[in-house]
Amino acid sequence: MSVTVRTFDAVIVGAGGAGLRAAIQLSESGFKTAVLTKVFPTRSHTVAAQGGVAASLGNSEEDHWHWHMYDTVKGSDWLGDQDAIEFMCRKANECVIELEHYGMPFDRTDAGKIYQRPFGGHMSNFGEKPVRRSCAAADRTGHAMLHAMYQRNVKANTQFFVEWMALDLVRDAEGEVLGVTAMDMETGEIVVFHAKATIFATGGAGRIFHSSTNAFINTGDGLGMAARAGIPLEDMEFWQFHPTGVAGAGVLITEGVRGEGGILRNGQGERFMERYAPNAKDLASRDVVSRAMVTEINEGRGCGPNKDFVLLDITHLEPATIMKRLPGIREIAIQFAGVDPIKEPIPVVPTCHYQMGGIPTNYHGQVVVPQGDAKAAVVPGFYAAGECACASVHGANRLGTNSLLDLLVFGKSAGETAVEELKKSAKAHKPLPQGEIDRALARVNRLDTQTTGADVHETRIAMQRAMQNHCGVFRFADKLKEGVGKILEVEQQVRNTVIRDKSKVFNTARVEALELENLIEVAVATMISAEARKESRGAHVRDDATDTPEHPDGRDDAHWLKHTLWYKEGNRLDYKPVTLTPLSVDTIALKKRAY
């Protein structure tokens, strides 16, 4: 079957923060750039990022990129690559100021500088005391960022393909990426976007879990496409659970609430974080707070009739402060928890929030895979940035407000590298391999012709329940082992889904079935990688790897200071070393992570 081919210098999949930042770099350099997106760019999930973007501007008090780097390495539980982390922290100020010049309406101090607020895990002088490092635009940082960057792209003539879903990578026999196949949702037409540079900025896959703060759009499309094309997925066992999702709904209560003075209390009214993190208290790193909350609940000090949540208390704050500094929090609490937080504390539980792992890249945004003796050989023509990528700056646990920084720094870096490579490349595009195109067509064709099989909605729920019950915030060896069997069963169901609606035009059932095929790749990668890692580190906390003098907090550096690589083919696992050598400073030496 022949399909229409559209030719560009670069194709970017995803129009959230990372995709838009990469596109600016390419379009402003004069390259013909297409951005494919399932939803209108300013409706991407980046909109939901409220807390801010980290940069050691030092506008409120003394700060330094090296302290930010230290916090990031420590937050990552030493699984982050120190070259990439130094790169990100050093680039932070430049990227934030650049964004300001694009028109980003940051909050201001009285002196007119960018206002900076404290945030969990942000410390001065190598972990000494909290520092104000987060730059925000009220509670709309992500939203304002997307608008500023979208306008900049419109000015630069980036071509947006809105309501298009990318289906699969096109990779030739030499492994070079030559673009993607994609479906126009409006017509059902499948088109090949033929490009010399392909950048994935598709976001995370938080919807693999039943309880998640992620919007429904976060279905890991880039990860699914990469996995099917033979690219491994890195460190997929590491998922950050946000400490404060509204109990029963998953809706996020931003960490900024604790930054402004919110306190976590157990069923006895105790401010329990004082016991777990005497210095940082409620502002400790997210996994530390999540673990403390779950321990309180598991040990019978939770709240409510089932003692299955804790309380986030802001009743001591002035209502005017809540309304000014934390707008919207009150309505969320009223709508989804049924409490007015000015008068009563909010019931919260740790909820899946962010994917630390992803498509392996270097700090230039290039996708890298093991090849021969090399553990990180560049895949020509292929780049990734943002939550779908693993640079790896977040390691085993992301520091709050580093996600917006990640997409700015690595979106730009991927764009810059692509520009340099495009300048060096031959004029003509390499020929397209037909077999690769047929792969995407076959998946759609199966859905269009299959008349019996598994229900998409039920199969998605089965996947989410398996992940939640077997691979949640606390993990158990027997549960993980059982979980591998369960998720592989669900995977078989996904291969056999059926949709009743066979129409071409705006067939959302078909889109949801295709999204599920991406989600399941991520779910399988997560379960298998988690089962195999026999230590506790960062967000991966196992019941059978506990705190001992030899292995503080269950971390086993002798055996597990390494990145996991999961391959779809045969569910094979490989490992590669963590880069402990930064670009210009001394290594941040391994030690126990304590706050």
Binding site: V505, T508, V511
Partner: protein
């Protein structure tokens, strides 16, 4: 339902995929209980869906009100969902 109508409704459903989980949950509840939508309902819903996520959330969560008499009924249905 004719093909044109089906496509229009499917497009509306897709436009209910939002950036904010809050709205995803509201719209998921809405479609579960929406029943049949008239053509007028579809037009009103399409207008609401053209709003920015935060503005729409403010409206749906009661932080703001609409002046548009046509939209009031639909906003109320979303609030009840």
């Amino acid at each position: 339902m004719d093909e044109q109508r089906r496509a229009r409704r499917e497009r509306l459903r897709w436009h209910c995929r939002r950036a904010l989980l809050e709205l995803d949950i509201v719209f998921e509840r809405f479609w579960r209980s929406a029943g049949e939508l008239s053509e007028d309902d579809e037009v009103v819903l399409a207008d609401l869906l053209a709003m920015e996520d935060h503005e729409l959330w403010y409206l749906v969560s009661g932080q703001t009100e609409t002046d548009d008499p046509r939209a009031k009924g639909m906003v109320e249905r979303l609030r009840q969902a």
